[in-house]
């Protein structure tokens, strides 16, 4: 998937934080905090094409159902779309 904004991921005391840089600062003045699953998805985002690809990778890593993983992934991707990050 394509990431439209310039964001650098930082880790701080168990938190994953996205810091906007470059021209992204003009429209995203704050920091973005990722939860655990968001952090996992963020790290693989550039290597995947579809929601199904992400779900497959989640199921390899986490003890969860396909239904749950699909729901969480869609919610996370929707947030990224709302923020025009993807």
């Amino acid at each position: 998937m394509n990431i439209k904004k310039e964001l650098i991921k930082r880790e701080f005391a168990g938190e994953a934080i996205l810091v906007p840089v470059g021209k992204t600062v003009y429209d995203s003045k704050g920091l973005f905090v990722l939860n655990e699953l968001g952090n996992f998805i963020w790290d693989i985002l550039l290597d995947v094409e579809t929601t199904d690809d992400i779900v497959k990778r989640i199921l390899e890593e986490y003890d969860t159902t396909e239904e749950e993983a699909t729901k969480d992934t869609e919610e996370f991707l929707e947030k990224l779309r709302t923020l025009e990050i993807i």
Binding site: R10, F12, E15, I17, V19, Y26, G30, L31
Partner: protein, 378 residues
């Protein structure tokens, strides 16, 4: 309209609280230079006429980038680049860009006079989250009188250009004997441009450069400092807000306070040395720029050990027990740096501040009463 204050985002507060508990420096100030093209008499870092001498002792580009890398490894996210005037460093953008690539959330303090041409172009390509510009007056004459240079128009032009380009600009206003007559003008300028303006009439004694003359500065008397605090509050608050503030202060209740200030207790109440630190232009580490004790030397012992020392020593500081039990502490702005710079000791009461706070409470009330009477007559 001028925005009354800039509220700290919750994530910033959360990360500082977490960092404080874990003893990690999530915030750091990088004081890149003590040099300045202005010569303001109340400054705590720039020594008038000593730019050439200071330049020789400044950290190099590589040293700053290396120290930033070490800070990043230790968890620093929030970075304030300041001076002196940071844009006087020819390598400013080398340091800035390297830190941006490392993922720092960067703000800049500047006097605003040099942010034109190539500097502005480069800054707009990769802007900071915020640029805090000191606005010292509302006309060239006041600038000449206070800063030694009549650069008012230039500064104003640069502020407007940054704001128009979409950069988050905030104004810092220091009210002193040299510019007090421009207080209302400064407020109106901020309102017209539509930027946050934060004014202070209390000036820390500049003990880093004045040979430790504790309690001295080219500043207003406590009574005058109170007067200009009240004048600023009359400008920035609505009648209802002013009334609420005057009443709260009279009852010694909690009032809106700068996020820099913590609770007044016997230990250090703010973030200095607990979740944030200050790196000076010549390579020292302090808890805060106003508080040159405890001091550590990151170039000699490394960033991590320097931070551990500062963090440990700050916890040992004891502030006056009289302040911790003072009924007026919620209306007070004293802190460890205030106690030390005013008295030379952390545990001595800074009487200048007591006087200013007493005066502010009383003048706020008088102003509220006289406003109410005027309304009744009208």
């Amino acid at each position: 309209m001028v925005r009354k204050r800039s509220e700290e985002p919750r994530i910033v507060t959360y990360l500082h609280n977490k960092a404080g508990k874990l003893g990690l420096p999530v915030g750091a100030t990088f004081e890149l230079t003590s040099r300045c093209n202005f010569d303001c008499p109340m400054c705590y870092v720039h020594q008038c006429g000593k730019n050439a001498e200071a330049r020789k002792r400044e950290l190099t580009t590589e040293q700053w980038i290396d120290i930033a890398r070490q800070a990043r490894e230790k968890g620093t996210i929030f970075a304030l680049l300041t001076g002196g005037e940071p844009f006087l460093r020819e390598d400013f953008f080398e340091i800035y860009s390297a830190m941006k690539k490392m993922g720092f959330y960067i703000s800049i303090n500047s006097n605003g006079s040099l942010i034109d041409g190539e500097i502005r172009r480069k800054l707009l390509e990769d802007p900071p989250f915020r640029i805090n510009i000191s606005l010292y007056g509302g006309c060239a004459e006041t600038y000449k009188n206070m800063c030694g240079t009549p650069m008012y128009e230039k500064v104003l032009e640069n502020i407007k250009a940054l704001k128009a380009a979409g950069v988050d600009v905030s104004l810092n206003v220091s009210i002193t004997p040299y510019n007090k007559q421009d207080t209302e003008k400064i407020f109106n300028i901020a309102s017209e441009i539509g930027v946050v303006a934060k004014a202070v009439s209390y000036m820390y004694p500049p003990i880093r450069i004045n040979g430790e003359k504790f309690g001295e500065n080219a500043r207003l008397t406590p009574k005058e400092a109170a007067e200009y605090t009240v004048r600023w509050d009359l400008l920035r608050f609505s009648d209802e807000e002013f009334e609420m503030r005057a009443k709260s202060m009279r009852e010694f209740a909690d009032i809106e306070r700068d996020e820099c200030l913590g609770d007044i207790s016997e230990g250090v109440g703010c973030r200095a040395g607990k979740s944030s630190l200050w790196l000076t232009w010549d390579g020292k580490m302090y808890p805060c720029g106003m508080m040159p004790k405890p001091v550590a030397y990151p170039l000699e012992v490394g960033f991590e050990k320097a931070w551990e020392y500062v963090n440990t020593e700050v916890k040992k500081i004891r502030l006056p027990s009289k302040c911790a039990s003072c009924p007026k502490k919620n209306a007070c702005f004293s802190c460890a740096a205030v106690c030390y710079t005013e008295t030379g000791a952390f545990d001595r009461v800074p009487t200048y501040v007591c006087e200013q706070v007493d005066e502010t409470i009383s003048q706020m009330w008088d102003a509220y009463v006289s406003k109410s009477k005027k309304e009744v007559i009208e």
